[in-house]
Symmetry: D2
């Protein structure tokens, strides 16, 4: 008798086991976004940084971030992760071009590269995303803080950024022409 | 008796004579914009092209374009020229980054470079600008047409573009990842 | 008695089975390179295209291309694949910046996107790489042809490019400012 | 009797008077270059900074910089100014793409923008240029120092950079992915 196979209700998602096995085999593709608030001429005034509780209960700061699923477009992954982290009323302006402002490489061994992810070798396409609406962080993010370029580059703030992502914030500000002198 | 000098009501603007003299001396800095309509995921669906009447009464197609004035920021020039060409209700999303997708060089002698401007040597910083509102072309522009990437790249359309700007439209579509195969 | 485990002589490489399983789970990260010859002012004169024999014995044209291995940097993968495809005396000028000129998305289902790879969902970071030395295609590549921008954009040539990569060649030429009008 | 007009031996160059008049009328177009030394994989190891004596005899640090002349291409201006500042044996790798990594805006009034030029409103297209040969600074440049990213970003060094150009060095390092954390 033929077994009827129900289609995967969540294509692209992997079991914990398959995900961990895959992470040991290939670099994992991520998208990350630096949310920004712009003035009427389009110049960046504030950068959005998420406050998260880590698994051990510590606080750390992060960016919008998530994996690109099998069969999902980079653009689709960006939209999905922005909605996951900023809520449904953020009204992000997804970049018209697929070119990221930087490519971030996370290695599992600490100290080898400025960016570090203990779980895996990850490569992230990083985008700046202007956000016009109201942000309501969801899931594990507790709060979204809007920081001026000076506040975002304060040494204390950069040190709190998860996995060395402070350098991505500085790269974003440099790309936008608003890195503090 | 002291003469009271009224401040220049139009700083940055030059008389016809001064403008023509300046044009013979240095390259003139321009900004240009390729207006686009995007879908909810940010992917480009249509490109905006202006229909203008030239001085000799012929029709030609063009992009949003204008000079950067003395003392004016590149961003300010972009906003001013978008409003001049698309009207006050276009609601353009000015790029957060000052980096253009290409630099266009117009030479006064035809045939030397793909881009040509009989009046001057001009160098334009060219940006892609998503437009969310209603466009009402002003001044000498008669009409704004929204074209699909395929329509914009049709040979007849490209040939009608003023000064060889058809190549800029193709470069914009390539940068956006939607150049027809 | 303790078993002495010899270190993996080829870290990052996967068995056929593991590779095929992984391909069904996550998008695979690739690097691609468009080799170019430049004139003394750095302007691009020719684009390099590889002629390959496919598994079924047909001829097809391609770019330098390969997977980023687990633990390997994007830059390292670019260097390794350039040497694999162009030989050890090509003397490529690896880009100083990690930002690709475009991100290419290949889907396994034909017709969904302009780029197509029947084996997998692949995402490639695509770079332009000036090459100064002598190229000796290795492995399965039979020949490297240097084409002018006009030759590279001829419809016949573009149609021969594997997986729809003709559009990447046009995007590269557009980015370089030498796309034929 | 016909006057024989000798052709301008220095086309594009202007008299002091014409140059100063032009500077008061329009933004002046410049190119700037951040010279870099790269390792065999193309990653940036050092940044080149010029030591100059200013008109008042003070020392200041600067980048390769110069005006784009009337009729000259951006690429031509970049090559000419690299040779002027680094000498004939520097063997710079001129970028294949005309897109700068940033656009620098200098205003004549101090304090308005991070970048400042008391002589003029200038807009510079700024490029990263790998240099393979020996540099022999010419003209008014006394010395070229090769600095590590950490040395280049030391506060003392940044403060010595002419017109606020320290921010351009940091933007270049950010673009290259080697901005110190």
């Amino acid at each position: 008798m033929a077994t009827v196979r129900t289609p995967d209700p969540n294509p692209g998602w992997l079991s914990e086991y398959a995900l961990s096995e895959t992470r040991s085999r290939v670099p994992m593709l991520y998208v990350e976004a630096v949310p920004v608030r712009v003035d009427p001429l389009g110049a960046v005034e504030h950068v959005g940084v998420l406050l998260r509780a880590t698994e051990t209960g510590e606080m750390s700061r992060s960016l919008v971030s998530g994996r690109v699923l099998h069969g999902e477009s980079v653009r689709g992954a960006l939209v999905r992760n922005l909605e996951k982290d900023l809520g449904p009323t953020a009204f992000p302006q997804i970049p018209a071009s697929p070119v990221p402002f930087t490519v971030a490489e996370y290695l599992p061994i600490p100290g080898v590269s400025p960016l570090h992810d203990p779980r895996q070798h990850a490569v992230a396409l990083v985008f700046v995303v202007p956000v016009a609406g109201e942000c309501q962080p969801r899931q594990d993010a507790l709060e979204l803080s809007w920081l001026s370029p000076e506040e975002a580059c304060a040494p204390g703030m950069l040190a709190e950024m998860e996995g060395g992502r402070g350098v991505l914030v500085k790269q974003a500000l440099a790309h936008l022409g608003v890195l503090p002198a």
